[in-house]
């Protein structure tokens, strides 16, 4: 991509980036994705070199809180593990805000990215007049993406549908079986 095009895209994305929502503990600013070595030369106000993995609960119904902890985030680029900076550890999926699970260096164009996200085994939920435990054991959330998808917005968002992801198990707890969508 030519530098001039990159700058135009960066400017547009910066304006659009104001729409991102971050959790209360997140101090990460909206980012503009520019692949390494392709940064524009016309005074880009904010050029990020990190991609974000965001997580958000949707379809919260009458949950007042759905508290889980992110135990680990791994990212592989072309099969090789890359460093992930953890961000929000304890998250409330019933919150209207999204959360940042981790950040990693923007992958080079053409590469393939594999992401896994693991929750700690125990969580909790609350409604207006009841509350209980969440069993968050289970296979990690995992997905593959091309670098181009991630570079398009500098982030990927995991949207967990809470209404269909919390299932009553035989022990009287709610098991977290993620039904989710991935937004690039």
């Amino acid at each position: 991509m030519k530098p001039r095009v990159v700058c135009r895209v960066a400017t547009l994305l910066l304006a659009a980036g104001a729409g991102w929502r971050c959790g209360p503990t997140s101090s990460v600013a909206p980012i503009v994705a520019v692949p390494p070595g392709q940064q524009g030369g016309v005074s880009p106000p904010q050029v990020a070199t990190q991609a974000q993995i965001r997580i958000l609960g949707v379809g919260t119904h009458d949950f007042r809180s759905v508290n889980v902890a992110i135990q680990g985030v791994t990212v592989e680029v072309n099969g090789a593990a890359v460093e992930v900076q953890p961000a929000d550890r304890r998250i409330d999926l019933a919150s209207a805000s999204g959360w940042v699970a981790g950040q990693f260096a923007l992958p080079a164009a053409g590469s393939k990215v594999h992401v896994t996200l693991t929750f700690a085994p125990d969580g909790s939920w609350a409604r207006a007049s009841s509350s209980g435990a969440i069993d968050a054991r289970g296979i990690p959330i995992a997905f593959d993406a091309t670098a181009e998808k991630i570079l398009a917005h500098g982030s990927v968002e995991v949207r967990i549908d809470l209404g269909s992801s919390l299932v009553l198990d035989g022990g009287g707890r709610l098991a977290l079986l993620p039904n989710l969508g991935i937004r690039f």
């Binding site: 997905f143 198990d169 993620p178 039904n179 969508g181 991935i182």
Partner: protein, 159 residues
């Protein structure tokens, strides 16, 4: 089976108006829970006698026009070699192969997974020394241009 000309037309439409991510979703269940009033699909299916069979159902939905969908397992049934290539569109009896063309619609498929023993469950879960209930999760991953959805169901094997 999706025909070549249809795929070409839809591909052209998709290129002109990219499919949005929120239009794709999926559902899965791992067995039937039966009571005196009937049987219902379950997201968490418990096995207490062996041999037994887990009956998985998978549904993919699109609220967009001209969505071309691929699907794959990336957990239990992949390891078990289950075939996910044939899908039924809405209530049609004919099976269609991937990729599916969904116009504001849905498709489903099923897979049966025989489980011979508690020991087999432990081996599949990678916990050969477990003594209590063993969790076997299966995840369906469906994808179209610009969108990915995942859904999970669980088999619990009791000793």
């Amino acid at each position: 089976m999706i025909s070549g000309w249809k795929l070409a037309v839809v591909s052209a439409l998709a290129a002109a108006a990219p499919v949005r991510a929120e239009g794709l979703s999926c559902e899965t269940t791992s067995g039937l829970g039966c009571t005196a009033s009937g049987c219902e699909p379950e997201r968490i299916h418990e096995l207490r006698r062996y041999p037994d069979t887990a009956h998985f159902q998978f549904i993919v939905r699109s609220t967009e026009y001209g969505t071309i969908v691929t699907a794959a397992h990336d957990a239990l049934l992949q390891r078990a070699g289950a075939d996910l290539s044939n899908w039924h569109l809405r209530s049609q009896s004919a099976a269609w192969e991937l990729p599916l063309l969904l116009d504001y619609g849905w498709a489903y498929t099923v897979a049966e997974f025989p489980i011979s023993s508690y020991e087999q469950c432990k081996a599949l879960a990678g916990v050969p020394n477990a003594q209590g209930p063993v969790l076997l999760d299966d995840r369906l991953v469906v994808e179209s241009e610009g969108a990915q959805a995942q859904c999970t169901s669980r088999v619990v094997c009791y000793p």
